[in-house]
Every structure is written in structure tokens, then in C-alpha cells.
């Protein structure tokens, strides 16, 4: 015959404490895992722009990043950028080069698409549209949220890759072709997965869609 043993008061308290602790740990795990939890989403329907033809919307895991393009500063680069967006060539493009709180880089059409990542060649891919001449501006300051065309060591090698600065980088002034500036959603970019001390990110985050504002 099994004898029923009544739990003491302290055992009951301990039991309740353990249950509370496990609930807290369980919910915390899912809450903390969601890196986008406290990031403000940008609802496109509520936004108005003076020059909507030069507004691009990059959708990533945590929401929409709104970029204003500057064709007056770098007409050829912006023209190329728009073509690549309109042809949806940036969709699935991985942020393969990320320096924490410094910059994020994506746009390797050939080897940097999330569906066809080639880690051995990433960063050397081509769009097939040819190289562009650098359009440098000694006046454009690469402040927080600036978008620039990436290039190889030499100038005049811009193609499709671009970077977005997450802080002011004065040394980039006059070094890279400016494309535009993030007007909404910079905090979203700070959530992009980094390589932890190294540039190249394994299993990187990627651009879900990239569209011109007027096409949305």
C-alpha cells in the first residue's frame, strides 16, 4: 500500500518557485531570441516624402529600411542602383561583410545571394552590367546611415555592392561614391548579424526585398 506523504510548506514554496523560474526562463529565451522585438517597424503607408522617386525601401528581417537616394551627387551610381533594385537583383542579397556598429555591406549579385552563397568567391561577384567610374565627393560626409557604393582597392571598380555606415566614418569622405542616406530604420541595421571581430559573416542575414518606394 502506497502511503501518501504530504509536502511541507517549504517544499511547496520551492516547487512554486521552480515552476515560476522555468516559465520565466522559457519566455525569456523566446523573447531574447527575437532580436527584432524592440525595433520600430516603419509603416510605409504612414510615410510621406518630398521626392518619392528617389526613395528606396529595403526590407530585412527586422523591418523596412528607408533610403533616400542622391542622384545630384552621383548620377551614374544612383542610376545603376535603381536599375538593380527595379530588376529585383538585390532580393536575397546577403550582408556578408559586417563590422559591428560600424557598417554593413551587401549586394554581391553573383556570389552573395542567400540561395546561392559561394563563401570562397563572395565579394568578387559581378552584376554583368560592367564597372562604374567612381563619383567621389569631397563634401559628402559619411555620417551615420550613409549609403556608399563599395569598390575594390582601385577606384572606378564600383558595380553592385554597397555599404551602409552605422556611425560617422570621416576617413571615407572622398574615398567612396555616395549613393544616399538612410532616413528611417537605421536601428534595424544594427540588428544585422555580425562576424564577431572578423568581417565575413557565416550564415549571414540578408535582404528580403528591395524596392523603389513608388513601386510598393
Amino acid at each position: 500500500m502506497i502511503k501518501t506523504i504530504k509536502a511541507s510548506k517549504s517544499e511547496k514554496i520551492l516547487f512554486i518557485f521552480l515552476i515560476c523560474l522555468s516559465i520565466f526562463a522559457f519566455t525569456s529565451f523566446f523573447l531574447l531570441k527575437n532580436k527584432c522585438l524592440f525595433v520600430e517597424k516603419n509603416n510605409l503607408n504612414k510615410l510621406n516624402f518630398n521626392d518619392p522617386d528617389n526613395i528606396a525601401v529595403m526590407n530585412v528581417e527586422c523591418g523596412n529600411v528607408i533610403i533616400e537616394l542622391y542622384p545630384d551627387i552621383s548620377p551614374k551610381a544612383v542610376e545603376r542602383f535603381k536599375i538593380l533594385i527595379e530588376q529585383k537583383m538585390y532580393d536575397g542579397s546577403a550582408f556578408y561583410k559586417v563590422s559591428e556598429n560600424t557598417f554593413v555591406q551587401a549586394g554581391d549579385i553573383e556570389y552573395g545571394n542567400i540561395n546561392n552563397l559561394d563563401y570562397s568567391k563572395i565579394g568578387s561577384g559581378k552584376s554583368g552590367m560592367g564597372l562604374l567610374k567612381s563619383e567621389l565627393s569631397n563634401d559628402f560626409k559619411f555620417t551615420e546611415g550613409s549609403v556608399g557604393f563599395a569598390r575594390a582597392t582601385e577606384f572606378n571598380t564600383e558595380d553592385s555592392e554597397f555599404f551602409i555606415t552605422l556611425k560617422e566614418i570621416p576617413i571615407y569622405q572622398g574615398e567612396y561614391t555616395p549613393i544616399g542616406k538612410v532616413v528611417y530604420g537605421l536601428d534595424i541595421l544594427t540588428k544585422i548579424k555580425t562576424g564577431n571581430k572578423v568581417f565575413y559573416v557565416l550564415r549571414p542575414d540578408y535582404i528580403k526585398t528591395f524596392r523603389m518606394f513608388n513601386s510598393n
Binding site: S99, T102, F103, T153, T165, I171, Y172, E175, K197, V198
Partner: protein
Amino acid sequence: MKILFLFILIFHISHVNADEIYNLIKIPNLEIYKLKNDNNIRYLSAKDNFKIGVNKNISCDKVNINNLNSKFPLIEKNLNRYNSNFLKKIKLKYIVFCENLFISEINTGGIPNHKNRTLILDINFNKKYFERMMHHEIFHMIQNTHIEYFDEDKFSSFNLTSFNYAECSTCSDRLNLDLYEKTDGFLTEYSKSIPSEDMAEIFSFLMTDKEIIEYKINSDKILNNKVNFIKLILAKIDKNIL
């Protein structure tokens, strides 16, 4: 404990700061020393040791900032002699300061790299030759960016037919940088290593001790030919440089 120490040591040695400057000129662990200058040159300093190049054969240590502060006025004075237009032509934009610069385990004063528009300078290089060393390295950038002008065969033909340069600058023991009393076509022992070092030595003396060279060439025909050769080419690149 030993394993922990080893781990810390490995982490310390292999620590590379993957930052915005590395992204630009492919040298890790740098920080801005002085950005705004009249000739648009940008000065960077090593905040930590770094290794770069093929098989990491170039190494340099972080700078002691007090050491750099004390030497910077002299460095800046010398580099201010080059205008921004000229620096653009020779693809020099970044001066990287570090200490104890080695290439393939050989101590050197500077390493120019026109592809990255960078000149790495060892601020601990021998004080006696330091100013001249800077101009010497800048000459290599001039030559590398205008290689079509510097016909080494023609330059070598000024020497006596019995003279032969070494195979490379580091494969001879002709390393002394002191000015010869009697030049006989060469300013220093290092001039005898290879033609480009010979040219660089002439250029560095023209930048730092022009009067001495002008005096020496009066009694040294070979040296006179070499100096005129260099002057003629430099005038094609920039009339005001000498």
C-alpha cells in the same frame, strides 16, 4: 594555467580589429592620427601590433603615442613639401605610423604600396637617416606609379661597364646609408644594391641635401649623369618637386 596563458597569448597575437580603416587600406589595428592636412595626406597610427602581406611577412608594432608626438613635426614638415596634386599622381594618401617595421624578418624604415596608396613608416628608424628615408620611400612610389619613365637599363648604363648591381636590394650586404666621401657614381653603399635603390638614394639626397649633391656632381661624371636623369624625369611628373 599554462593553457589559459597560451589562450590569452594566441588571442592577443591574432587579434585583428576588423574596422572601417582595415576595409579601406587592408591594414588592421589602425586609428586616425591626423586627418585634415593641406596636401590631403592622412596620418594613421597603429594602436596594436599588426601583420600583413604574403604569408604575413610584414610586421610592425603599435606606436607609443608620446614617441609619435615628438617625431610628428619633423615627419609632417618633410611630407608637406609634396603638394596634393603630386601626391595624387604618385598615389600616396595614407601614412601609417608604427614601430619596429620588419619585412621578411629584415628591419626596414618604410614600406610603400601605391595600390593601397599607403606608406608605412617605422618611427623608430635610425634618427640619422630618418628624413632621408621618408623621401627615399616616396621615390619608390614615384617610380612605381611612373614605371614607364624610369628606364633602369639606361640608368645602369651610366655606370662603369665593370660594375654590376646585386640581384635584389636585400640579397647583398651593401646596406650602409652613409654618404661616401668619394662618390665614384654612388652616393652610398646602398646605392650599389639595385638601380631603383640607387635612384631612390639620389632622390632622397636631392630632397634633403641638395647643395652637397650639386657640389659632388661637379667632380663625378657618372653621378652627374644619374642626377640629371632623375631630375629630367621628375620635371616631367611635376615641375616644382625639386
